[in-house]
């Protein structure tokens, strides 16, 4: 790949994308917290262990 092949980035649009992405992450975290509250410890902690080790 040539350096000239790298596309220009619209930083304003990129900032908006990051904001939207972060908002979506927060929404997911709220949903996940809600799920944990309704889920037996054995189940959620087993899933967490799969991620963390």
């Amino acid at each position: 790949m040539k350096i000239s092949d790298i596309p220009d980035v619209d930083l304003k649009k990129f900032e908006e994308f990051k904001k939207r992405n972060f908002k979506a992450r927060l929404e997911f975290i709220k949903q996940y917290a809600d799920w944990i509250k309704k889920t037996p410890n054995k189940i959620w902690s087993a899933q967490q262990k799969e991620i963390i080790g």
Binding site: F22, R25, L26, I29, K30, Y32, A33, D34, I36, K37, K38, T39, P40, N41, K42, W44, S45, A46, Q47, Q48, K49, I51, I52, G53
Partner: protein, 201 residues
């Protein structure tokens, strides 16, 4: 989630390797009679947040050199200090100067426990965290964490995406149990009311 949330928080979970590491370390602090409080992202992870961390931040009460040396010896039975092999250096060059020292399991680098004395330049928040710490009993293992209201406000004030996510997670998980007046008071002090409102609406 089955959890007892009162003067202390009590629950059972399948322990991750990070949980086991923290339990092994805090067991030595408990046995040594050291007052400490866990203040880091581990608090959210303990209660199910799905991420890991390479370090766990702990504030311990300010000790004199003799007491610190006794703690050092007890810790070296299972852990090693990543900063120095000399207890006096750890105490004088790091802790007394406001810097932290890190301990990991012998031969490992991560995860590690990052220990420091209360920082007086943080307007007393470190001391507050230590004095108002909350007892947690997980699978019969005792540890002390920052009170959840302070943890949420402090995470918002740190302000990185990861910290805000931790704060939102803890808020959502415990919002029915929190002292909201206290959370608002911390938020005012740390000037994060707008962020708190926006992120938890």
């Amino acid at each position: 989630m089955e959890i007892e949330y009162g003067k202390k928080i009590e629950f059972e979970k399948e322990l991750s390797s990070l949980d086991q590491f923290v339990i092994a370390f805090t067991r030595i602090l408990n046995k040594s009679g050291i007052k400490y409080v866990i203040i880091s992202g581990y608090v959210a992870i303990l209660f199910g947040r799905n991420r890991t961390s390479e370090d766990v931040d702990i504030i311990i009460e300010k000790l004199d050199l003799a007491k610190f040396k006794a703690l050092w010896t007890a810790l070296l039975s299972e852990f090693e200090c990543l900063n120095t092999t000399n207890a006096e250096d750890a105490y004088k060059i790091y802790l007394l100067c406001g810097d932290s020292i890190r301990f990991s399991r012998k031969g490992k680098y991560v995860p590690n426990m990052e220990i420091k004395f209360p920082n007086i330049s943080l307007d007393g928040f470190d001391l507050l965290a230590l004095n108002e710490r909350k007892e947690v009993v997980v699978n019969d293992n005792q540890m002390f964490i920052s009170q959840i209201e302070l943890q949420i406000a402090f995470k918002f004030s740190l302000g990185s995406d990861k910290d805000i996510e931790d704060a939102v997670y803890l808020y959502e998980l415990f919002k029915d149990k929190l002292d909201i007046k206290l959370l608002r008071a911390f938020s005012r002090k740390l000037k994060i009311e707008d962020l708190l409102n926006k992120s938890t609406e």
